[in-house]
């Protein structure tokens, strides 16, 4: 009998493929081929089930260099940039695992689709600026042979953020940072506001910042489908399944200060097929957690947060799903074509939708959070919490009729409402690209590139996102973003 004795975990170094190796060609993957041949011979021998005749085409491949958990805009952006920045064509095998191919609950499709550069952190501003130029040249980035060009339906109407007396100073300093980074933002006084937008009621507004260029809203579904199409043409494999288990191995190592740390390495991802018990263990080198609102569950599967609280092992990923409502209403006397996306001092926001006097908007709840177990819409929330503020700000909105509404999840980072990017310090081959709390879509191209650079080159090259690493949760360094809608 052919028998192979392997020390558990450690000897796998012979068999794992590292990213960057060439597939086929001159470098024969002898070890991999030999193990496959042995497996096949073993299965033919009597006493084992014969797998040769079973159809496994619906299952994901058995080996993949990178497994991206989550097929939303962030996951696809990472896949795109991994393929774009790889050193040789076909060097990296990428597998995207998405639980729901209809994207019925994914934040991407349910998003309002706005993009703006009015943030307080320079990194956020740079990410948005890069994403705006990506969207502007989207047909050069995501061109696929023989496929029609993408029409993002971008409305360059800008964002108008209103600030009350106490927030005016913060807004001024934010605008200064934004201008330094290259965003075109203008500050307006209440008089100028009234001149420009006669439908606005400037009661309680001390200052407003208006984005002039590269800001507005677009169709997120088109971006998602464009990325999907391009990424499939670049050779990324898709799988509809759920990640149920990570098989990993641990190693005890000493830091430079002679403290013992246990480093974990994920070797296999078990992907369970939809509506069946069948699963496929996918051997992988790197796992990217882009699961959006459910990232914390994936991180828990990998062992993030298993330990005494207050230690690095015990620091969980603080991303949880938060339900947000978006309402569409019709108001024939409402603001005209020039309406930007207006974000009120109370947190309510609205924007024009189409040309038929329709508007959509909502508000982040400040008191209690709605239950994120399902995506049912609470219409009373509009009546009690959103409409009064809208009607105060825009008197024309006192008469409006709600046409429809939907709800979606924010992958809300309870720590500081900014994203998590980069590797986990202890689970060394899990990278995060999640937790962006409502501005993940507008920063997706920039974040995808940053994560791909981290994976391929080991450091951030174009935009330095080191303040967004996981370690800040343990060290307690909050990078608070003030302009969250």
């Amino acid at each position: 009998m052919i028998r192979r004795v392997l020390p558990h975990g450690m000897g796998r170094g012979l068999l794992t493929r590292r990213p960057g190796t060439r597939r086929g060609g001159f470098s024969l993957d002898w070890d991999g081929k030999v193990s496959e041949i042995k497996k096949k011979i073993k299965s033919i021998l009597p006493g084992r089930s014969c797998d040769l005749l079973q159809d496994t085409s619906h299952l994901p491949p058995e080996h993949s260099d990178v497994v991206i958990v989550g097929g939303g805009v962030l996951g696809l952006s990472v896949a795109y940039w991994l393929k774009k920045l790889e050193s040789r064509r076909g060097a990296i095998r990428v597998l995207v695992v998405e639980r729901d191919h209809t994207y019925s609950q994914a934040s991407t499709g349910l998003s309002v689709g706005g993009i703006c550069q009015q943030f307080s952190l320079p990194e956020n501003i740079q990410l948005s600026l890069f994403s705006a130029s990506f969207l502007r040249n989207i047909n050069e980035y995501l061109a696929v042979v023989d496929a029609p060009p993408l029409d993002l339906r971008f409305n360059p109407s800008g964002y108008l953020l209103l600030a009350s007396e106490k927030d005016a100073a913060a807004m001024e300093s934010n605008v200064k940072v934004q201008r330094q980074e290259g965003a075109k933002v203008s500050l307006m006084s209440p008089d100028q506001l009234r001149n420009k937008f006669p439908w606005i009621n400037t009661e309680g507004v001390a200052l407003a910042s208006y984005g002039m260029e590269d800001e507005g809203w677009f169709d997120p579904w088109c971006l998602l489908q464009g990325l999907r199409r391009k990424v499939q043409s670049l050779g990324v494999l898709f799988c509809q399944g759920e990640v149920t288990r990570f098989v990993s191995s641990s190693q005890r190592m000493l830091t430079t200060d002679d403290k013992a740390v246990v480093l974990k390495r994920i070797h296999e991802v078990h992907v369970k097929m939809d509506r069946s018990l069948e699963y496929q263990p996918v051997e992988c080198a790197i796992v990217i957690n882009a699961a959006g609102a459910w990232s914390a569950q994936i991180a828990a599967l990998a062992g993030v947060g298993e330990g005494p609280p207050g230690t690095l092992q015990g620091t969980k990923l603080p991303v949880e799903p938060r339900k947000r409502y978006v309402y569409v209403w019709h108001c024939p006397q409402g603001p005209g074509l020039e309406t930007p996306l207006v974000a009120d001092t109370s947190g309510a926001y609205f924007r024009r939708e189409g040309l038929g006097s329709n508007y959509l908007g909502g508000r982040s709840p400040t008191e209690e959070e709605p239950d994120p177990a399902n995506l049912e819409v609470d219409h009373d929330f509009f009546q009690d919490k959103v409409w009064p503020h809208l009607a105060l700000r825009v008197p024309a909105f006192e008469t409006l009729k709600v046409q429809s509404a939907w709800a979606g999840y924010y992958d809300y980072n309870t720590f500081d409402q900014n994203g998590v990017v980069g590797p986990h310090p202890l689970v060394v081959n899990m990278y995060f690209a999640t937790g962006f709390s409502g501005h993940g879509l507008q920063q997706a191209p920039g974040i995808g590139r940053a994560v791909a650079e981290m994976v391929l080159k080991g450091r951030f090259q174009t935009i330095d996102l080191s303040p967004f690493l996981f370690t800040r949760f343990y060290l307690g360094e909050k990078i608070q973003e003030n302009n969250i809608i």
Partner: protein, 178 residues
Amino acid sequence: MWDLVLEDRRMNSLRLVAPMWNGRIRGIHRLGAAVAPEGNQKKKRTILQFLTNYFYDVEALRDYLLQREMYKVHEKNRFRDKEWIRPDKYGHFSQEFWNFCEVPVEAVDAGDCDINYEGLDNLLRLKELQSLSLQRCCHVDDWCLSRLYPLADSLQELSLAGCPRISERGLACLHHLQ
């Protein structure tokens, strides 16, 4: 040399004119006046057309006359008492152009140009621009329109006829230009 494709009506006119034409083959410079100017204008045009189709010399002559006419038209064409500065046939601007460095530019006609989002950078620096024509620029789209707000103070005429890529979303952001 001989173009074998003939239209019927030209056949008719040929018969009428042939005797006159044969005799005056040397007088090709006076061919335009071969038919009396007060005569049938339509006949004159078709004769010239027919001859242009037949003879390269006639075609060259016609182009030369046309250019002379165009030049006269150019001389008359002034933009608010200032001439348009156009590139000559090689695409170069005349030397006098450099004298105008300090003069504020009032009108730019960028029709049929391949100008795009980054190219607008150069145009946006002209703070005194009054008239901008971006007709039939195939790369001008909504993003470019959102860049036009710096010209809001001085711009009075903007022409976007024939740009295939702009939509109502770009026009919605033209409200900056009052």
